[in-house]
């Protein structure tokens, strides 16, 4: 009775120990090499590139069309009132006007809805002055004063846009810094993604393209000794320890004992030719990522196919 109790508790203890030692939540997370992953993003979320000039023109044209349509709907009375108000006021100096419009423009950039209204008004003054205004000399003066200002404003609008969106020299450094930060962030993000994806990958193999690249490189470097007896076992396995750049740290012939066996003199020749091949080929064309995966590599050189056995 006691004996069976001990046995049972022993087994239980064993299972508990097994789970403690092997379950992943206790052991350290496995350092999985990163994978190259592709993430689909909206370009607008990541780029600072402004509109192309052609596109900008088209957009402006569209805007003008919209303005024209809206201008038609604007009440003439409202226009008159505004003009009257302007006329009643003291004639503003161009500088003041400029400042005022500037201010409005700045606001309009911040709040597109308001911008629409104000620009509409200015356009209206410029392009379609009412007959009443024309008759009024004062108003003419006013408009003559306003016109250049509007032009200035227009120019300023473009320059403001450019400054803001394209050439603000004060903000270049900030933009660069920001872009660097963004880049770093995206990189981090990518790494995270790839690492999580990498866990699902088969770590025991290179991808077909990686393997093909490596094979093609070594094919060119391996001068197969022509005198080998092709009815013998012509397989030599070489274990490599590699640096991340593909250069060799260490090479090891796995069947080293065979080299000194009687009647296996050809194996030495074969093994040496394989070693020469890897020496000649280095740095090897290894994948750019996943060093942990391929830092130890085994190459199986088999000359049978070449020698027509």
């Amino acid at each position: 009775m006691h004996k069976s109790l001990f046995i049972s508790s022993g087994f239980h203890l064993g299972i508990i120990l097994l789970s403690i030692l092997t379950l992943p939540f206790i052991s350290k997370p496995i350092d999985v090499p990163p994978l190259i992953s592709v993430e689909l993003i909206q370009i607008a979320d990541f780029t600072n590139i402004p509109y192309a000039p052609k596109a900008k023109k088209i957009i402006e044209k569209n805007k003008k069309k919209k303005k024209k349509e809206e201008n038609k709907e604007v009440n003439l009375e409202k226009k008159n009132e505004i003009i009257k108000e302007l006329a009643a006021k003291k004639t503003p100096t161009p500088e003041k006007k400029l400042k005022k419009v500037k201010k409005e423009k700045l606001e309009s950039i911040a709040m597109p809805d308001k911008k629409k209204e104000k620009v509409q008004l200015e356009e209206e003054k410029k392009q379609k002055p009412s007959k009443e205004i024309k008759k009024d000399k004062d108003l003419k003066k006013i408009t003559s004063l306003i016109k250049p200002n509007i032009k200035d404003v227009k120019v300023k609008q473009v320059s403001e846009f450019e400054k803001k969106e394209l050439f603000d020299p004060n903000n270049i450094a900030a933009l660069i810094d920001k872009s660097m930060e963004d880049f770093g962030e995206t990189n981090k993000k990518k790494n995270k993604i790839s690492q999580s994806q990498d866990s699902s990958m088969d770590n025991s193999k290179l991808t077909l393209s990686e393997e093909d690249a490596l094979k093609a490189q070594i094919f060119g470097c391996w001068s197969v000794p022509m005198g080998l007896p092709y009815n013998e076992n012509l397989l030599v396995r070489i274990k490599l320890k590699l640096k991340p750049d593909g250069t060799l740290i260490k090479t090891e012939i796995l069947d080293h004992a065979r080299m000194n066996m009687p009647g296996q003199g050809f194996f030495k020749v074969l093994a040496e030719s394989a070693l020469r091949a890897v020496q000649l080929c280095q740095p090897l064309r290894v994948p750019t990522s996943g060093y942990e995966r391929w830092k130890d590599l085994q190459l199986n050189f088999d000359a049978r196919e070449m020698l027509g056995g």
């Binding site: 120990l17 094919f219 080998l228 020749v269 040496e272 085994q298 050189f301």
Partner: protein
Amino acid sequence: MDKLKLLTIICLLFLLKTTNSYSLIEVDITRGNLNPLPVAVSPLFQDKKSKIEFQRELNLDDIGSEISKVVENNLKQSGLFNPLSKDAFLQKPDIAHLKPRFEDWALIKAQALITGKVSIDNGKLKVEFRLWDVLAGREMLALAFTTVPNNWRRVGHIITDKVYERLTGEKGYFDTRIIYVSEEGLKTQRVKKLAIMDQDGFNTKYLTLGNELVLTPRFNPTNQMVTYLSYFRNLPRVYLLDIETGIQEVVGDFPGMTFAPRFSPDGKKIIMSFAKDGKSDIYIMDLENRIVEQITNHPSIDTSPSYSPDGKYITFNSDRSGYQQIYVMKSDGSNVKRISFGNGLYGTPVWSPRGDLIAFTKLHKGKFFIGVMRTDGKGERLLTENFYQEAPSWSPNGRVLIFYRETKTNEKGEGFSAKLWSIDLTGYNERLVETQTDASDPSWSSLLSN
């Protein structure tokens, strides 16, 4: 005891835990290139004293350089090596021989480096050489020889053999000789003499005077004996000739026509064919007791017999199927099997010294081919094609074939020539073997230094 078990289990669990989560990635390399291996052959260094003595003894300014040229030429002719131009060498021969700067040799793309030193000691030529693996930065081979100064070319051949063997895994074939029939004069009045030369075409010597017609000289695979056929008073005789001593003896007079004598692998027998009563059969003669044994007995023409290297089988050609084809049988004449089934006529089969292939001449659609097939007749490969060529003979390592090729004559009977050619098993490295005269019926010796 239970505690011990528990402890063992815990230790095992720890081991399991600490095992790397990455299994070793394996990549199979099943292809390589057949480009010649770039080799730097540094001139062999000689000191001033030796230089003066060599000049007096051999009338050579720089024997070290001459030996390295022999090595270089051999390696190049093999088709497996690409000796690099000496102009590109950055290190002097004396320093290179002591401690090569591998970076300098790697810079000129050399993968192997041969350095050496030559000196004269008590009237003897002393040569030491080293083979270096440039990429691994280590010595692969180091040897020294002492010989008479006149043997300096042989030293070059021996060095090449050692280098070849170390780098390719098979024995070399450079310290060898080729015996052939030297031909001079018009096609209808050819003067044929036995001639012998080094495999690179140097040191040609004539063994007969040309008074009698000589045919089919063949080397003994074990020594420097030669058997050949010569006509004495219009009767064919089989002769044995010792190259070293120059002693010649008649093996015997045989009835009717005798063809193609060839040694057995142990050199103790001669296998040949006799023509008698309109048929030709294969016979073996024991050289010790001169007893002749008939091997085939068929109302057809069986000729050109050749032993397998283990002496257990014989290949020959026969027209017993209606057309000349290649057959293989046991050395006692039993179990005859036809192995060639391709279109055309097959002849002059020669078993490779490696035992894996049989070389042959094939006549098909008016053209002659030299080819090889496996001993079961499968895997036929035609290596070279020409107007007229035949009599392939293997190099002692079974890598290269030497044969002769004749050119067409014009309407006036001019323009005829017969030259020796060699080709390796890849079929790509075909080369003319330089001879002083026209040449035919070559036979390659075994390695002299064995």
